[in-house]
Amino acid sequence: MNHSSDHPLFHVNRRQLLKGIGAGGLSLLGSTALSQLLAAETNPAAAFPNFAAKAKRVIYLFQEGAPSQLDTFDYKPGLKDFFDKDLPESVRGQQRLTGMTSGQTRLPVAPSIFKFEQHANRQDGLWVSELMQHTGQMAGEICMVKSMTTEQINHGPGITFMQTGNQIPGRPSMGAWMSYGLGSENQNLPTFVVMISQGRGQMQALFSHLWGAGFLPGEHQGVQFRAAADPVLFLNDPKGMLRSDRRKMLDMLGEMNRREAERSADPQVLARIAQYEMAYRMQASVPELTDLRGERESTLALYGPDVKKPGTYAYNCLMARRMAERGVRFIQLYHRGWDHHGSVVKDLPLQCQDVDQAQAGLLQDLRQRGLLDDTLVVWGGEFGRTVYCQGNLTPTQYGRDHHPRCFSMWLAGGGIQKGISYGATDDFSYNVIADPTTVHDLHATMLHCMGIDHTRLTFKSQGLDQKLTGVEPAKVIKEILA
């Protein structure tokens, strides 16, 4: 309810206003209001980056439901000998189990049924499951982090923790933090965009607070682009209305609002004019963004056969590249359906098929356009899965429960070393034995790539200088930086 000039929100409006004035052909109401508008400039974006940024934008390929690291990127050939043997107590330790397997009488080891292949990278090669062979072929670009750990064992808190740095819903999402810190590079598209694709397995709920602004000014919240005729809610004018009708309405609005600005002397009225003009530009820029007619067939082929179907992961990967080209700061994908409690053998191949070629294609496409150098790509879920079987174990059937102690994620592009692995787990992919990497470490590292010192990106709320990386110490993982 604050119209005063200290509202942080206002600052971006002010910048947009100045641009909007150029584009919309508005006349200024008076030098007093304008100077008031400019005088209050204290946008945090002025304070960032803290140092040279290697990446200008992020594409976060979130795999929601928790992919099995054992069947994708964490190769444990020795497990063959442990088929159906009990997980040694010494490995399990005091680990808490979810209610889904805590009642099982046995915790039998289920080795991965899938073949692994070694792909060349800058070290001694990266072992990748046959289910992710396209991704494996990009091993030379990827930094595989095998030593991720989290504190959460359930989906809701796990996803929320990964996205906001806190398991309790309501904190700002990482994309909102980056929007707040770095601002926008495109005045015609949102700074933080979210796209969702449906998977094959059991679906977890996705909460809009995952891309919310929390206590940050609301304009930093992610804007969901939907797989619908209206990619942005309320974007399309009603049927029967022409673009010229909308322009006419905006001209009437502009005229009357400028008079209101004079009557009230409130610069917020000018900001509103600017926002309406931005909305008008978005009505053109979003359809341009989603118009794929200019894409070459050879490019589309990189992403696989689903690329033209809105709502698929492949389509969203292509859209991610198009947004990266247009300067969207934070591009957040959610791919659902990785929660394979029941049948990894049956469900995981289909799930991987939906993502593997598409994400490898995205990396290739970014690379060939020179975009990978300053785009940080991140892939992973909210936790890992257990080496022991949930439910019945046979040579051709197993399921896996939630596992917070270790999981694999990969990063590529701006600021990240190419072709390396980082961290290691024990022979059961149960505990991290080298270079444990917390969720806050990951966040600190991502911010670092964007030129942000994670201890300085703060916002005062509830009496505290809140930050994405929380109160416990977090570290930038220097070893994986380029």
Binding site: G170, S208, F234, L253
Partner: protein, 747 residues
């Protein structure tokens, strides 16, 4: 000598020149600096304290430091080690240290120097000192609010603005008290009423309207984190709406606020509790609830109790209790023990953790009809019920549910810094509630009147409405805040104690509330945030108001009070694309008939996918207690207000109503504009509309197919006798008016 008062307010500094020389006051001037810049390492929390030096107590500050000098030597900055370190240019020595990323400005240093030289006197934190009724500054003002504000303005060499025009005033007070604009008839009547007391009569009429309770309740729902689903993974349907209606009725009946608090926290424990008093305790169970398979009972029951502590802390004490879930508070004298001592009031209920259960309510619940619709259907509402024996409570190490520190048992008590429990009260939630509303709690009345102030003046007297602790803002009008708090708690004259209606009336009848909102450059130069209120603050309408105003102006709004939530227009697919397979709220089925036109507080609130129009206009998601909404200004709001089916339907219906009026077009345009904005339009504005209308009429006459298409919005029938081309043109004019700044803003 001139002295610059610095008030740390959410990171922004409000600088106001005081006109007379005065030494810095600890609470107002010094503590905000120490709290923001020093206490993180030199405060209450021993685990974080550096060099064993603390600045939060005089004893600690005056201790000899490693250098054998006193940290702070009262009366002599130059002999104080702290002052030497503040001035140091050695990065190893300077305070605050570079790695803290905190620096002291020259003005802040000067405040500290003057304070030390004046003897470094400490004061107890202002909000922990019980309020006393301050003397009203002598003036000719009839309303004490005006006397306090005018005295402060006078000190700054400023004056209040003249009274706003009648149109502005009526729209302002009607929106603020009912969330709806005035009707044209109400406007005519007010303008025609030239007798003394016309405005006060309007205020009384509005306070008596059932719409008042709806408006007050819609804000309480944010604070009480009310939703119609459980949140978390499955986001199961719940049926807590009879509680929402209990709140509406409580405000409409002006239930004394102390009773309002007691019943919501502990209605079930009152002697001979009525079903409605039990219903009130749904407040304590509005939190999120999970039924995800595999979740651990202890973890979530712990989470729910912690949420109650956080909510009670923010709502009734203005304290950020959540900070001391894992450790002692870094800034406030709140200890981890305090959190768990409060939590002990809320952890002994008969609730059970359930898995894979999609009931509408988890026990304990009552089956009850809405208090507003007693003959209507009954619903199961989750409420509080005390377990037979209190569950022993311990401090949880680092807040981990599975790590109770058995060496640190806690007993039920309020935070230590606020004093002991009431001697004669039971050691349960009822005792806590009685303590909260007692004079021993210095915070309840202050925190509550501050939120009410914020409702009308957009910013609280304490801007950080959720934080009255040391990191919160010092009140910009401390005497006024305490006067309001005592007036609220004790009443005066005919006014009963704890009468929300009395306090609201006191505020909206003040000259400060009634003044013009035109910004004044000479004021903003001195007081950029208008905290001194030399003019009235404009505000963008709340989400509910934007929608309800359109429904009202179009003549579509249903006046039905209370009942089960409704499902108005919403873009297709939103629930489906976010819901879990196990959810019973994954398919959105739109309401029919009048339910499409209910006021927005009755719209079904699915927590994982709240109504998009509401969140685009800054409604919180209702996952946790929220006492202050932002008012952002984004392009998504423009798209929503242009293209939401509901607003388009309102535009068409308003156009149809206007076209049925026999007046000539220019007068009809004036009527349309007035119905929406409450104003007689300026000639230029009406001319802009008329020119636009003429072009649009021409355009749709030549393309009637477009007109026919455009008119297909919403379910309300359209008078077939109306010319479609003309109606389409008028519809777009109405839509334009719905999007004007003067429509979206209450001035």
């Amino acid at each position: 000598m001139k002295f610059r008062i610095l008030i740390a307010a959410g990171g922004a500094l409000l600088g106001i020149e005081a006109t007379k020389a005065e030494a810095p006051q600890f609470n107002r001037d010094v503590r905000p600096i120490l709290s923001d810049k020093c206490f993180y390492c030199h405060g209450f929390d021993p685990n974080h304290r550096k060099a064993d030096f603390r600045l939060d107590t005089p004893e600690g500050a005056q201790c000899l430091t490693d250098s054998k000098k006193a940290g702070i030597k009262p009366g002599s900055a130059v002999d104080s080690e702290a002052w030497r370190r503040i001035l140091s240019d050695d990065p190893e020595e300077v305070m605050p240290p570079p790695e803290s990323h905190k620096t002291l400005s020259a003005a802040e240093k000067e405040v500290l120097r003057q304070w030390i030289d004046a003897g470094a006197p400490y004061e107890k934190h202002w909000s922990f000192v019980p309020p006393q009724r301050p003397a009203v500054p002598p003036s000719g003002e009839a309303n004490p609010i005006d006397a306090f504000l005018a005295a402060r303005l006078k000190r700054e060499g400023l004056e209040r603005s003249p009274e706003a025009g009648k149109e502005t005033l009526l729209r302002r007070v009607t929106l603020d008290l009912t969330g709806l604009p005035p009707s044209v008839e109400e406007m005519d009547a007010f303008i025609a009423d030239r007798a003394a007391g016309a405005y006060e009569r309007v205020v009384d009429r509005l306070l008596d309207s059932p719409r008042y309770g709806e408006k007050m309740a819609s804000q309480w729902l944010d604070l009480a984190r009310y939703g119609d689903t459980n949140g978390y993974l499955h986001d199961i349907l719940r049926t807590g709406w009879p509680w929402r209606d209990w709140v509406i009725r409580a405000f409409n009946e002006d239930m004394p606020f102390d009773r309002f608090v007691i019943e919501q926290i502990a209605g079930d424990l009152l002697p001979n509790a009525t079903p409605e008093q039990v219903l009130a305790t749904a407040f304590c169970r509005n939190h999120l609830i999970t039924a995800e398979g595999g979740t651990i009972a202890e973890e979530y029951l712990n989470e729910y109790a912690a949420d109650r502590v956080q909510t009670v802390g923010t709502a009734f004490m203005g304290l950020t209790m959540n900070c001391c879930r894992c450790h002692d508070h870094k800034f406030d004298p709140l200890k981890q023990d305090d959190f768990y001592s409060l939590k002990a009031y809320f952890n002994s209920t008969t609730e059970k953790h359930v898995e894979n259960n999609s009931s509408a309510a988890y026990a304990p619940f009552i089956e009850i009809a809405s208090p507003l619709v007693p003959q209507g259907p009954k619903a199961q509402v989750m409420v509080m019920q005390e377990a037979a024996a209190a569950v022993p409570a311990f401090v949880l190490t680092r807040g981990q549910y599975d790590q109770p520190d058995k060496s640190r048992p806690v007993t039920r008590r309020p935070p230590e810094v606020l004093g002991a429990p009431l001697p004669d009260a039971p050691a349960n939630r009822l005792g806590l509630a009685q303590w909260l509303v007692s004079e021993r709690n210095p915070l309840l009345a202050r925190v509550t009147v501050n939120r009410l102030w914020q409702q009308f003046f957009s910013t609280g007297i304490v801007k950080s409405a959720d934080d009255f602790g040391l990191q919160g803002e010092y009140p910009v009008h401390p005497e006024l805040l305490d006067w309001l708090a005592i007036e609220f708690r004790e009443g005066s004259g005919d006014a009963k104690p704890w009468s929300t209606r009395h306090l609201v009336r006191q505020i909206v009848t003040s000259a400060s509330y009634r003044q013009s909102s035109r910004l004044r450059p000479e004021v903003t130069a001195k007081d950029p945030d208008n905290r001194l209120l030399a003019f009235f603050p404009r505000r963008r309408l709340a989400a509910e108001e934007v929608r309800d105003q359109a429904l009202f102006a179009a003549g579509l709004m249903s006046g039905e009070l209370g009942g089960a939530p409704v499902f108005p227009y919403q873009p297709p697919g939103l629930w489906e694309e976010r819901s879990n397979g196990g959810s019973n709220t994954k398919v959105y089925v739109q309401s029919k008939g009048q339910a499409l036109y209910r006021r927005s507080l009755y719209t079904f609130w699915k927590r994982t996918s709240p109504p998009p129009f509401m969140t685009i206009f800054d409604a919180p998601e209702r996952t946790s207690c929220s006492v202050r909404r932002q008012a952002t200004n984004t392009p998504l709001q423009a798209l929503a207000a242009f293209n939401d089916e509901q607003i388009l339907e309102c535009s068409r219906q308003l156009a149809a109503t206007i076209l049925s009026d026999p007046r000539p077009s220019p007068e009809r345009l004036a009527l349309l504009y007035r119905r929406v904005t409450g104003r007689s339009g300026a000639a230029q504005d009406l001319k802009t509309l008329e020119e636009g209308l003429n072009l649009l009429v021409e355009r749709f006459r030549s393309t009637p197919a477009d007109a026919a298409e455009l008119l297909k919005q919403g379910a309300a029938p359209v008078d077939p006798a109306l010319n479609p081309s003309e109606l389409a043109a008028w519809m777009l004019v109405a839509s334009t008016v719905f999007n004007l700044d003067q429509t979206l803003v209450r001035d």
